[in-house]
């Protein structure tokens, strides 16, 4: 875990920042009052009796967006190494990257035309 020296601070910071919510929960657990009641712990639904569960099946409209997101996020990750060695690789690799981006733009246009980006 501690192989890379420059990540030492990251791991230490991770541990400390994990301690922050734990400490907050602990302090509030000591200080905060507790008074339980069935009405108090029921789900809030604008003051009326909650109707059924929220864990039910319904159509999530963000599904297509999530699919398109995966494509474009992976694309961006692929572009990062190219951008870092841009000055070494030069024109030929730029043309390759351009073709790569072009294919993705065609993909975006396709998704757009097919209505994947529509909020219906």
């Amino acid at each position: 875990m501690f192989l890379l020296y420059e990540y030492d601070f990251f791991w230490a910071f991770l541990i400390i920042s994990i301690l922050v919510p734990i400490l907050a929960f602990f302090i509030s657990g000591v200080l905060a009052p507790i008074s339980k009641g069935p009405e108090k712990l029921s789900t809030y639904e604008s003051g009326i009796e909650p109707m059924g569960d929220a864990w039910l099946q319904f159509r999530i409209r963000y599904y297509m967006f999530a699919l398109v997101f995966v494509v474009f996020d992976v694309e961006t990750v692929f572009l990062y190494p190219w951008a870092m060695s841009f000055d070494v690789l030069g024109v030929s690799v730029f043309i390759e990257a351009f073709i790569f981006v072009l294919i993705l733009i065609i993909g975006l246009v396709y998704a757009w035309r097919k209505g994947a980006l529509e909020w219906s």
Partner: protein
Amino acid sequence: MIIDTTEIETINSFSKLESLKEVYGIIWMLVPIVTLVLGITIGVLVIVWLEREISAGIQQRIGPEYAGPLGILQALADGTKLLLKENLIPSTGDTRLFSIGPSIAVISIFLSYSVIPFGDHLVLADLSIGVFFWIAISSIAPVGLLMSGYGSNNKYSFLGGLRAAAQSISYEIPLALCVLSISLLSNSLSTVDIVEAQSKYGFWGWNLWRQPIGFIVFLISSLAECERLPFDLPEAEEELVAGYQTEYSGIKFGLFYIASYLNLLVSSLFVTVLYLGGWNLSIPYIFVPDIFGINKGGKVFGTLIGIFITLAKTYLFLFIPIATRWTLPRLRMDQLLNLGWKFLLPISLGNLLLTTSSQLLSL
């Protein structure tokens, strides 16, 4: 036999010394981290106060004035109140997800502070993947929001959590592409290198002038990532009560509150680092050490000036998000997604190609 034991003793004492050294090393590592955490906390308190005062100014009311001089302690009083409030966990919800959700949101945003340079090379971890680290870490936060929305077992919370996730994935790609253009210009992902690349021509060397389209796209996307007002659909009061935080009370609500302001502060700091020249004074022909007559001995003073300049730029920039909050109405969900996918994504891709072409000419 005697020699053997003394040898072992010396080895033992030596290893003790080594372990002591290691302990000292760990303690020395903790000092800057704890300082950073305290500094961030104070920064958040200042933002909360600033937002309240500016909001009050825009709406022509007085704002906080009783807690401390000018109401400076108002945020602290709010935090203490939240700490003393009862923690309610809905009886039908999932207790673990309900508690882990806000913790993940806070932790992931805290971690992104580790790559921000506050002064001249004053950065917790100068990672060579700096900015990319921020993008990677900050996309963990929506997982926490989704967890808390699902764990509440409340319809408002669930819809709010889904909206938060959809919004942050939609605006993450334009954000990443803008950062990519910046790192192309400075040919490095390290935040320190990005700031140094802007230090040459003072005010005119800022990436803001070389990347005006990128700056606007970055500004809009970072507002959306912070769920600030034109994009605060996950917690739209009129539709979803409070979105994913509907069921939260006490310190868990406080963690969400802190997380949102931490996120605002970190994106403002990143605007400073990426576009506004970071710790440089940025006035051409004036070299800071010349004015104050600092030699190499006065390094501390120079560092302090660097921190001051970074924070001044950051907090001045913060006026824009806060004023936007009271200027623009909230978008509809379809408008939000259209803006992200059909406007910002093509524009940021075009900006990237434009940047690469111009870089190609200068090769």
